[in-house]
């Protein structure tokens, strides 16, 4: 749960919001990606959603911000329907995309300034303050005038987080924030996620298959497999998993005699 000794939230930030997912199912053609997934996330909580590639984690995240519509079931954010486009107007949600999704034609500064400019959140001086504050939080002041193509993978992820932070979000969603990063940069991003929650009380949902991240900062963890939630609980329960699928996912045994790729479906 959120740390009690947190500092003040971002100026102008609204309180964190809770999220519910009720019987969520999603089908693409005949392929069912999500099957009756249900869980709740409390305001200010860090919820880590884990699972193998293709298990439906990112699709679930897109349902929360209204980028996908459920085939059945419902998601709510602050009690409002996640599939309703007006929810995005009433609750400030930010999604940190796996590849960053930075606007390649804009500099880092303009990437961050786009949201306040488009929503007219002050004059250019106020926007500059807001952007520079977000860059300072992530130690990115020197990258302000660089373009996304000039940044390393780790810096792109940090800029993507900074761009989300400029929105002063009530709900911050991270899609694979530590993928394709070296262990030190993964730890750095993990620290950033925990720090942002601690300082700004933002509700955080992190989709990841980074076991270290989940064990270090999650309040609760969910594990999706084959479109179903097969584990939901505190990270401590993951140290001694009773479900063999969870145990195999977290501590896969490398078996050169019977390699598992021989049994994978195409």
């Amino acid at each position: 749960m959120p740390a009690a000794n947190s500092t003040s939230p971002l100026p102008g930030a609204a309180p964190a919001v809770g999220v519910t997912v009720e019987g969520l199912s999603k089908r693409f053609g005949t392929f069912e990606v999500l099957r009756g997934v249900s869980f709740t996330v409390q305001p200010g909580e860090i919820f880590v959603l884990m699972g193998p590639s293709g298990s439906g984690k990112s699709v679930l995240l897109k349902h929360l911000v209204g980028l996908e519509r459920p085939s059945a079931g419902q998601t709510t954010v602050a009690g409002l329907d996640g599939a309703d486009p007006t929810t995005r107007e009433r609750v400030r949600m930010a999604l940190v995309f796996q590849a960053g999704a930075l606007f390649n034609s804009l500099s880092v500064y303009d990437n961050l300034a786009l949201y306040p400019r488009e929503h007219r959140l002050g004059d250019e001086a106020a926007i500059r303050d807001r952007v520079m504050r977000a860059l300072q939080i992530l130690s990115l002041e020197n990258a302000a005038h660089k373009f996304p193509a000039e940044l390393s993978g780790g810096m792109k992820k940090r800029v993507a987080i900074a761009r989300a932070l400029v929105m002063e979000p009530q709900l911050l969603l991270y899609d694979e924030p530590t993928s394709e990063l070296d262990p030190v940069m993964s730890a750095t991003i993990t620290e950033i996620i925990a720090t942002l929650r601690q300082r700004y009380q933002v509700t955080s949902i992190v989709v990841s298959h980074d076991r270290d991240l989940a064990l270090a900062i999650a309040d609760r963890v969910g594990i999706l497999m084959g479109g179903e939630l097969i584990f939901l609980g505190p990270p401590a329960d993951l140290r001694q998993p009773t479900d063999p699928r969870v145990a195999d996912f977290l501590n896969p045994r490398i078996d050169l005699e019977h390699p598992r790729f021989k049994h994978l479906e195409t």
């Binding site: 069912e32 099957r35 009756g36 911000v65 980028l67 999604l95 995309f97 786009l114 929105m167 939630l229």
Partner: protein, 276 residues
């Protein structure tokens, strides 16, 4: 931990609706045409909702005017000059024996103003600007920049489509008038210096003015606006509906340009008929 206790029983997911079932019976090309037409008109409707915010997009509007208008002018100029020249040359050659070469001014003037000026400007727009729009928006879609805009509650129609539509509606008349003028001058030069035509520019333009009025130019400008709007809308729609990777971006560009060219010629017939 039990599996069943965590996931509620899967609900009856998606029984296909009557509309879905009907659509599956349609031949694929018919479905694609209907789907493309419907989604393009929907994109236009969604974009028009944001017209009041156009003043806030002034910077992007100017940028698009530069790309759509200014950078397209040289190629429109070159092409129109030679089209006007060839028109004069062909009609002069054919009319030499029949005796209508004194009407070359009117022939080149009317053909450029009513038909070739707007059509050639639109064809060049599709090839030069439409392809760039489709490629840019398709790559923004594939690399999730469009999704990022939506999560930031910034409608892509407002930021990406509206300035382009406003810019093309502003610049198409400019490009078309330029095509008309350059084409007329191309015809005049060829008429003066080709030995079997030898018509002085004064006679050429007198004949042009005698058989033309502003209505003919306006006719071409209306066509140009229809073509320009169609090209930009089609290219934006195809770009924004791209899914996949680099190969699909390339396929979207090809589809956008081919669809635009077909629509220019099909619409040309119907708009011409409507304006007669």
């Amino acid at each position: 931990m039990s599996t069943t206790s965590l996931s509620s029983p899967p609900a009856a997911v998606g029984t296909p609706s009557v509309t879905d079932r009907l659509l599956t019976w349609l031949p694929t090309p018919v479905f694609q045409v209907l789907h493309g037409t419907g989604s393009t008109l929907l994109l236009l409707a969604r974009t028009l909702r944001h017209v009041p915010s156009l003043p806030r997009q002034f910077g992007r509007f100017i940028e698009q005017c530069h790309l759509i208008g200014y950078t397209t002018m040289p190629i429109v100029g070159i092409l129109s000059f030679f089209i006007g020249s060839v028109l004069a040359l062909q009609s002069g050659h054919a009319g030499e024996n029949v005796g209508y070469k004194q009407f070359i001014g009117a022939l080149v003037g009317l053909t450029m103003a009513r038909e070739l000026g707007p059509v050639m400007a639109a064809v060049l727009l599709a090839g030069r600007v439409g392809s760039a729009i489709a490629a840019e928006l398709a790559s923004m879609k594939v690399y999730q920049e469009v999704d990022a805009l939506e999560t930031m509650n910034i409608p892509p129609e407002r930021m990406l489509v509206l300035p382009r539509i406003a810019a093309v509606l502003t610049m198409m008349p400019v490009l078309t008038i330029m095509a008309d003028l350059v084409g007329w001058f191309g015809g005049a030069i060829v008429s003066q210096y080709t030995h079997f035509i030898s018509i002085e520019p004064a006679s050429y333009f007198a004949n042009l003015r005698q058989y033309m009025d502003f209505g003919d130019v306006l006719n071409g400008l209306i066509k140009a606006e229809v073509f320009g709007l169609t090209v930009v809308l089609v290219c934006c729609n195809i770009g924004l509906n791209t899914r996949g990777g680099p190969r699909e971006i390339g396929a979207s560009v090809t589809r956008a340009v081919v669809t635009s060219l077909i629509l220019i010629l099909v619409l040309d017939f119907f708009v011409t008929k409507a304006l007669m």
